[in-house]
Amino acid sequence: MNEIADRNLAVAPRPRASRLRQAALPVAIFAVLALMPAAAHFGASGYILALMTRTMIYGLAAMSLDLLIGCGAMISFGHAAFLGIGAYAVGILSSHGIDDVFIQLGAALAVAALFALATGAISLRTHGVYFIMITLAFGQMLYFLFTSLAAYGGDDGLSLSRSHVFGLPVLRSDLTLYYVAFAALLGVYLACRAIVASRFGRVLRGIKDNPVRMQAIGFAPYRYQLTAYVVAGMICAVAGVLLANASEFVSPAYVGWQRSGDLIFVVVLGGLGTLHGAILGAAAFTLLAEFLSGLTEYWGMIFGPILVVVVLFARGGLASLLRGTR
């Protein structure tokens, strides 16, 4: 208890030791992820590698959502739309024979940015539960658009082969794909860290803390929130590009509201506003789902209560739980 109080009081001039301690958890997470393929070598390597690749991709998507919810107080219930945009950019382009990853990525980023700008500009005129509902509506709009794309599999989705890099099929190796996802996750994590600490990020966090106070000193929340919304959408589209490559398949299910809900789930489970918590949440989510669904068909009945317990008893999510024991 005392320790918590002390931590709250010593905010601005953070002592060196505590700063190191704060870095310990993210460093440990990335170290484990970097070494995972070597460890997996001794077990069911292909299966573990695929599972961990997916975990990192969801971690990436959830991290971008954490930027919105945890830092910007924008509870988007349609974030999977950007996952779908990234995935379909790969699916649609590769079905036309364009399988260069940079073209696919560029298209994904451009479409995600436009979609975020258009829907964000409207959504951010609302607040609270209305923002949740309108982002949900935009996400579902995209879901139904994808289901109606008969040329690209409609409801059933679309199989694809992995992207090429400069004409070379290097991503065909699961290990390469793993490390590409790892590099993307690390890069995005460092970028998000920088954004959160920057002038822009501080304004965003201030808006979350007290929007009226921020307006009273001259900040217009809308501009900052819309920018964050676009940035987060583009990051999530990167996760979508990776997801399409990892599963060699895209379907409207990537865009559905259940997937958006899962992402919120992951962020809350991992710890809001921590960024690395999103990775922990994604790991807990995919591994638990994998493990529990092996036990029983009704795994959701166990899974749901676990989240309730985390929210009730560990408000800061897994990230604070792990930091506390250190």
């Binding site: 002038r199 501080r202 106070r213 009273a216 900040f219």
Partner: protein, 259 residues
């Protein structure tokens, strides 16, 4: 005495109105605030003081009327644009960033007026140009030792001082203070009054306040707001003697206590 006829007013309200349903909360308020003036607005509970402050600051839109700030029509501007223009307010219920340190609360207000905030790299909390100004202001308001404290954990009086420091960090050309003494202890309130005495030498102030002692000690001019209308406006002495004010608001007992 005030001499504001010699120079243009910094703020001019013309026939400002606002209704909530059938209730006219602001009913044709016209007012001019001169430079170097501390203008107090007093009135009984429910007179519409806070609504008027919201209208002036831009937190609430006016139904009709006109607000000019240093000659510019700002009636249609949102609160953040008015703040950037130098019309800076405080709140009746303390409004700070509770999760940030006291230093960052002030540094953010400095950041708002120095350079772009669309910068995505660099540690904002470590910018000396922002922190130095913020630190000077904290020291000035007696909060130097509280710089690293989480603002939400400060005492009520300290939060009041912090809010003033934030307001001054925003480089105000007019301060709009909504009951800065609300909820403070006697000791804390004399501290705030002393601070306001200093501030009024630097910047024109509109002070909305319940505390009569403070108002008559600080104000150059006083306006009395009753049911959304200004029933009297003048020097403290004039207002004190005004028979309408006596019957409508001050009451004979209170009036006697003040003479």
């Amino acid at each position: 005495m005030t001499g504001d006829a010699l120079t243009a007013p910094v703020l001019r309200l013309t026939d400002l109105r606002k209704s909530y349903g059938a209730l006219r909360v602001t009913d044709g308020v016209s007012l001019a605030i001169g430079p170097r003036e501390l203008h107090a607005i007093i009135g009984p509970n429910g007179a519409g003081k806070t609504t008027l402050v919201h209208q002036i600051s831009g937190l609430a839109a006016s139904d009709s009327g006109r607000i000019e700030f240093y000659g510019e029509d700002i009636t249609a501007l949102p609160m953040d644009a008015r703040a950037r223009a130098g019309l800076v307010r405080s709140f009746q219920i303390v409004s700070i960033l509770p999760g940030f340190s006291a230093l960052e609360n002030v540094a953010l207000a400095v950041q708002a007026r120095s350079g772009s905030s669309f910068r995505f790299t660099g540690d904002a909390a470590a910018e000396p140009a922002l922190n130095d100004v913020a630190m000077t202001l904290l020291a000035r308001f007696g909060l130097a030792s509280r710089a690293g404290f989480t603002a939400g954990l400060l005492s009520h009086g300290e939060k009041r001082q912090l809010e003033l420091a934030i307001a001054m960090a925003a480089a105000p050309k007019l301060l709009l203070l909504d009951e800065p003494l609300a909820g403070t202890s006697h000791e804390e309130s004399s501290r705030v009054i002393a601070t306001l005495k200093e501030l009024k030498r630097e910047v024109p102030i509109i002070l909305v306040e319940h505390d009569m002692e403070a108002v008559f000690a600080l104000a150059d001019r006083v306006s009395v707001l009753v049911y959304g209308r200004i029933i009297a406006s003048g020097t403290p002495d004039e207002v004190r003697r005004d028979p309408e004010v006596r019957s409508a608001y001050l009451g004979d007992e209170a009036a006697e206590a003040m003479t």
